[in-house]
């Protein structure tokens, strides 16, 4: 559509060079666009090598060293890994993180699916889609602070409502058992709309005539959901799950502003512990070893999920 507006000026300077075009084109075909491609790819390549590939390799290297940032890294072999395996706080962090991921992803996936289906079957309103996306525009820090205030034990409106209903105040973020579920749900609030829109996009690809045919056959919405929506959404759902699980394992911001890992390590998620080891205790080697462990866990989960859910395949023939 914009070609029409851009081609007239391009014609001007080349009126005399028309004859050259075929030979130049033939030459270009013979040797490809190598030189030009090199120029076009150079900045991205620089970024890839310096800020992605190199740090990945360096992170693995650092995990085998003792490094405090001030003196050069010193090779210590597997020391960091031995220490990690024997570190009860590391295992606690891993457990807490897994607990967070299970609650976060479980609730979020079900809620996002419900929202997506409601948006698909009930209304196509773009306004509603915009509204459910709003929390996603907030940073995790903002979302954390918003709910820190609402769930405050003394003054929060959440606890005012709970006491009005006749129950006792719940110290949501100050209690060892409540803290992780609370943080998990705060992040559901922020991310569920985005996840729902991803699933909604997947739903849009399901041909409408399938629903119409089912309705003619007298199928209920419930039945249509299980027989049409779920099977055909599976590949999209699988990819969304892999993405959200990987994101969920990296939880940090919300913990940092609401509980700072407490009470008593109850919310000391892996990423928070890694940050503390590096920037609180300057053990960059040990922090890197735990990062490698996280990387391994994430890779394993990705491969496993990919296999189990057959993410690459679709049933839509």
């Amino acid at each position: 559509m914009t070609v029409a507006s851009s081609s007239p000026p391009s014609r001007l300077p080349l009126s005399g060079a028309k004859a050259v075009v075929p030979t130049r084109k033939a030459k270009a075909r013979a040797r490809g666009d190598g030189a030009l491609a090199a120029v076009f790819i150079a900045p991205a390549m620089l970024g890839f090598l310096v800020f992605l590939l190199w740090p990945t390799l360096r992170g693995i290297y650092l995990s085998f060293t003792r490094f405090n940032l001030l003196t050069p890294a010193e090779w210590v072999g597997l020391d960091n890994y031995v220490r990690m395996v024997n570190d009860p706080i590391f295992w606690n962090s891993l457990t807490v993180t897994v607990e967070y991921v299970v609650i976060n992803i479980g609730v979020q996936t079900v809620a996002a699916l419900a929202i997506a289906v409601l948006l698909q079957r009930l209304t196509q309103s773009a306004l509603l889609r915009g509204i459910v996306l709003t929390p996603y525009l907030m940073s995790n820090v903002v979302a954390g602070l918003v709910w820190l205030w609402i769930l405050d034990t003394q003054l929060g409106i959440g606890n005012e409502i709970i006491t009005a209903l006749g129950a006792d105040r719940i110290p949501f973020l100050a209690d060892e058992t409540w803290a992780i579920p609370t943080i998990a749900l705060i992040n559901v609030w922020r991310h569920v709309g985005y996840t729902a829109l991803l699933l909604f996009a997947g739903l849009q690809a399901i041909p409408n005539h399938l629903y119409e045919a089912a309705r003619v056959d007298g199928a209920s919405e419930w039945r249509m959901f299980w027989r049409i929506t779920m099977p055909l959404l599976r590949p999209v759902l699988a990819v969304v799950l892999i993405m959200t699980v990987i994101g969920s394992f990296q939880v940090f911001d919300t913990v940092a502003v609401t509980t700072a890992g407490g009470p008593a390590n109850a919310t000391n998620v892996l990423q928070y512990y890694i940050y503390g080891s590096a920037f609180g205790r300057f053990q960059f080697g040990y922090a890197s070893a735990m990062s490698v462990a996280l990387l391994v866990v994430l890779s394993a989960i990705t491969i496993l999920q990919y296999r189990l859910t057959r993410a690459g395949q679709t049933d839509l023939g």
Binding site: A44, G130, V146, V240, F252
Partner: protein, 310 residues
């Protein structure tokens, strides 16, 4: 053309029989939808209500649905317009945070990242999709593998690198690792560039346009919709980033809004949290993204499937 590319199956949005008679199931579904909207939006109202109240009023009347002692002092405190003495008297910490400065820092970092990252990624995507050169698929495969590395894994080594470059506590240091590309942006744009019909490019070639000119005059304009969507999402992501700026920035000169908010939160005065000031600061941090979203909402909402699922 571009409009077709962003909505995979336009037919499903029309022609769906929406009008049906009242049924209990439908009423229940609408009720659930209404609840979802309430849970989504009420927290925003509650923050506004709190920001416009005084701390004393909040303690005295925690359930009042309207602002208690309607006032703008929370915002004054967040923007550093109050003297320390005044702030402390009203339940603030008097720490003297300057949100105007952090706002400016956030704008600089996010604009720098978005502009450079999208442009460089588009250049690479063009080379991967429309130029022919040896090793193209292998290099692209390498970029794709980069998608598998969780961003968080590269943060520690990148911090070490930024420190060696003496860029710690600078805005450039915050922006640099995200400045050149993300594998996702390259991948995403490549998909769109590949969908642009070959004939369009050939027509331009016959007109004598070079490949560089085609990139600027044909490919970029034709892919403007996905580029804008990606830009807005990238802007939001960099604006909301907290972990990386927290590592790199130590002082006012490079402090961005997210980090400043967390510091504001940590400066809890002895009398208790300055909720009025904190919620005002929260709103200041969130407002620009709400405005940005309001401008592009329709476009983003309708093309979000592609950004996420590739």
């Amino acid at each position: 053309m571009a409009a077709v590319a962003t909505s995979p199956t336009p037919t499903t949005t029309t022609g769906r029989p929406v009008r049906r008679r009242f049924s209990p199931g439908k009423a229940a579904a609408w009720t659930v939808m209404g609840l979802i909207v309430l849970i989504t939006l009420l927290p925003f109202y509650w923050i506004l209500r709190t920001a416009l109240s005084t701390n004393a009023g909040l303690g005295a009347d925690p359930t009042n649905p309207l602002p208690v002692d309607l006032t703008g002092t929370g915002f004054e405190r967040a923007l550093g317009l109050q003297s320390a003495k005044e702030a402390v008297a009203q339940g603030g910490a008097g720490g003297g945070l300057d949100f105007w400065r952090y706002l400016l820092n956030s704008v600089i970092v996010s604009t720098l990242i978005t502009g450079c990252q999208i442009f460089f990624s588009a250049m690479a995507a063009y080379a991967f999709s429309r130029l022919r050169w040896r090793g193209r698929d292998a290099v692209f495969g390498l970029f794709l593998a980069g998608l598998m590395v969780p961003t968080i894994f590269t943060l520690l080594p990148n911090f070490v690198l930024i420190k060696q470059l003496h860029l710690v506590d600078t805005l450039l240091g915050i922006a640099l690792p995200s400045l050149f590309m993300t594998p996702f942006a390259v991948f995403f744009l490549r998909q769109f560039f590949m969908n642009i019909p070959q004939e369009v490019e050939e027509a331009a070639l016959l007109d004598g346009a070079g490949k560089v000119r085609i990139f600027f005059r044909v490919i970029l304009p034709m892919a403007s919709t996905p580029i804008i969507t990606l830009s807005v999402l990238t802007y939001i992501t960099s604006w909301n980033d907290y972990f990386w700026p927290l590592m790199v920035s130590y002082s006012d000169s490079s402090r961005v809004l997210t980090v400043a908010l967390a510091i504001f939160r940590a400066q809890t005065p002895a009398t208790g949290v300055d909720w009025s000031g904190l919620t005002a600061a929260t709103l200041i941090a969130a407002l620009p993204m709400l405005v940005l979203f309001a401008c592009f909402a329709r476009r983003i909402v309708s093309s979000i499937g592609f950004t996420g699922i590739k």
